[in-house]
């Protein structure tokens, strides 16, 4: 299974032009786990993910997959191990869901080779796993935001990679759909053993869904570990510059960050609508 694959950043720096955004990051994604990269806006978390998926070239250091720097691996071969769902993928006008998901098969196909049963099976599995099997023949244009995000995840699944990186997979989704997408990714991690790494904005969802958190500030990695170990008021202050309390999430018993803010502080008892 996927425990064989390791993706790591070694003293990795990258940026745009002469501007350094990611500054000397060392990290290794725990194989078969869900890792989440968190941090304030413009801390470099998205650029780190883009560099790890070779969309941005390192200015120094390297991204290493199974011991080999990824810019030395032929891009097509790499695409059979390392998948990426970018923040804003583009669906061609009028494309059917099954056809779009089928495009995820690209790295497994050769020029002029006919479509194989294996390809059809991968598409069917991906559609079933993401719960959009009934939409297979529909046009992607007609779908809602939540359905569309499922279809994109299905495309990444059809690519059948053991490592999957996702750049803010929950942006533009309402809370219910955010939870739905994160539950889906957890399903995939549990059933397929896929190593997942993603950037999330919401620290509380990150703390709930991550096995392992990477916290970034100004291009550097400032904390790494299980959410219950690393999410502390001190870290929230360091990473987000936010005064907050951290309590236990009553549902998942993971850390829950409660911002203090300048207004609304109140000392009366809490727990509105807790189960009786």
């Amino acid at each position: 299974m996927t425990l064989d694959h390791s993706l790591a950043a070694n003293a990795l720096s990258s940026g745009y032009g002469s501007r350094t955004i990611v500054d000397g990051v060392d990290l290794e994604l725990p194989p078969g786990k869900i890792s989440v990269i968190v941090g304030a806006n413009a801390c470099g978390k998205s650029t780190l993910l883009k560099t790890m998926s070779r969309l941005v070239r390192p200015s120094s250091g390297a991204v290493v997959l199974d011991g080999a720097a990824i810019d030395k691996v032929p891009t097509k071969k790499l695409a059979t191990t390392l998948g990426l769902l970018p923040q804003q993928p583009i669906a061609p006008e009028g494309i059917a869901v099954a056809d779009l998901v089928g495009r995820g098969r690209h790295p497994h196909q050769k020029m002029f080779r006919a479509w194989t049963t294996e390809d059809d099976e991968a598409v069917a599995e991906a559609l079933t796993a993401t719960g959009v099997a009934d939409l297979a023949d529909r046009s992607v244009d007609e779908l809602s935001g939540g359905q569309r995000q499922r279809v994109w995840i299905a495309m990444a699944l059809a690519q059948n990679t053991d490592v999957l990186l996702l750049d803010e997979p929950t942006t533009f989704l309402d809370l219910a759909h955010q939870v739905e997408v994160l539950d889906l990714l957890t399903d995939l991690n549990l059933s397929r053993g896929t190593t997942i790494a993603m950037v999330l904005h919401d620290i509380n969802l990150a703390a709930r869904y991550a096995d392992h958190l990477f916290a970034m500030r100004a291009g550097k990695l400032v904390a790494s570990g299980a959410p219950s170990e690393v999410v502390t008021p001190a870290l929230i202050d360091q990473v987000f510059g936010l005064d907050a309390e951290v309590i236990l999430d009553p549902v998942s018993h993971t850390p829950l960050v409660i911002p203090r803010g300048r207004h609304h502080a109140d000392s009366r008892p809490t727990h509105i609508g807790a189960p009786a």
Partner: protein
């Protein structure tokens, strides 16, 4: 929300259903092309029966027909088909790659560049077909590079690329007019060819660069069309799917620009064929896959159809580009839509 399960067989059935529609639509286009081609060979000042035309094609000596069909109509037909394919494939490649229906080589000034070079080489310098094509190619690619350099950087590169291209195209069209007027053999027919495109007076011995261009470049583009399909999803997705984005794009741009330029060097920039073929082909074969080859077929049908109309529908014969010029309202429609969408089209 758990969706139903699906099986490989269901996926396969849906995929085959959509593919079959594309195949049937392409066959219909091919049949239409054959009908138009036959009409072009049969009709003219003198009508020749299919049997006579066939006789000429297989090399028999048919009185009258051998000259009219063999020397006049067949070169005209070949030029029309090949230029149509070249403009259709080149336009559709650009539109798909840049994800913008306006990004066609005739709208963004590339064919104007090729046309200015061709008129300079042919009308002013009296160069050979090969040298003319080479210059048209060079200037066409240079035009593309200039437009790209002027448009790059910042937000909304697509919209800016198109506006800059339209501006550069207008400048180059002025160059064409200037050159045609300065040349001693100034006449309306010559001017029309280099401004809107024409199949009049195509000479068989001047066709070979176009033949070679289509035979070489169309397969090159089709060869990387799988990469183009990934590029449609955006650069990030294409990279994630294992496509070398920059090299695929360079191959596609160079091949498509070259195709448009060799066609322009032979027939002039036949108006709007490159712009219209891709969207028409998509309408006919259905969305969801780049319709490069069908766009080529549509391009050829447009050129032949428009040339037949131009020759026979009116009291005076018009060159093909005047007839395809009725595509202008579509360009207007796209421009209005682009300005409403704030340049992103």
């Amino acid at each position: 929300m758990t969706g139903l399960e699906t099986s490989a067989a269901t996926i396969r059935a849906g995929r085959i259903r959509r593919a079959r529609r594309r195949t049937i639509a392409s066959l219909v286009l091919a049949v239409l092309l054959v009908v138009l081609a036959a009409a072009m060979l049969m009709f003219g000042n003198t009508f020749y029966t299919p049997a006579q035309v066939w006789g000429v094609i297989v090399g028999q000596d048919v009185p009258g027909a051998s000259f009219t069909v063999g020397t006049l109509r067949i070169p005209r037909l070949v030029a029309g088909i090949l230029a149509g394919i070249a403009f259709g494939v080149a336009g559709s490649t650009f539109q798909t790659m840049l994800r913008n229906p306006l990004a066609s080589p005739d709208v963004i000034g590339i064919t104007s560049g090729a046309s200015a070079a061709a008129v300079l080489a042919l009308v002013v310098l009296h160069w050979s077909a090969g040298a003319t094509t080479a210059l048209a190619l060079g200037v066409g690619i240079a035009t593309a590079v200039v437009i790209y350099l002027a448009a790059r950087g910042g937000e909304s590169t697509g919209g800016r690329l198109i506006l800059i291209g339209i501006g550069i195209g207008a400048m180059l069209d002025a160059v064409v007019q200037f050159l045609v007027q300065r040349a001693s053999e100034w006449d309306v027919a010559v001017a029309m060819r280099w401004l809107t495109g024409s199949l009049n007076g195509v000479q068989p011995d001047r066709l070979w660069p176009l033949v070679a261009g289509v035979v070489v470049l169309v397969p090159v583009i089709l060869g990387v069309s799988r990469g183009l399909r990934a590029l449609e999803l955006g650069d990030a997705s294409a990279t994630a799917l294992g496509v070398s984005v920059s090299s695929t794009r360079v191959i596609l741009i160079v091949a498509a620009v070259a195709l448009a330029c060799v066609a322009t060097a032979t027939t002039g920039p036949i108006a709007f064929v490159a712009l219209l073929s891709g969207p028409i082909a998509t309408r006919i074969v259905g969305p969801g896959a780049p319709a490069l080859l069908s766009a080529g077929l549509v391009g050829a049908c447009l050129v032949l159809g428009a040339d037949l109309i131009g020759q026979f529908a009116f009291d005076t014969a018009f060159p093909v580009g005047v007839i395809t010029g009725i595509g202008a309202p579509y360009l207007l429609f796209l421009l209005i839509r682009m300005s409403r969408n704030g340049g992103s089209s």
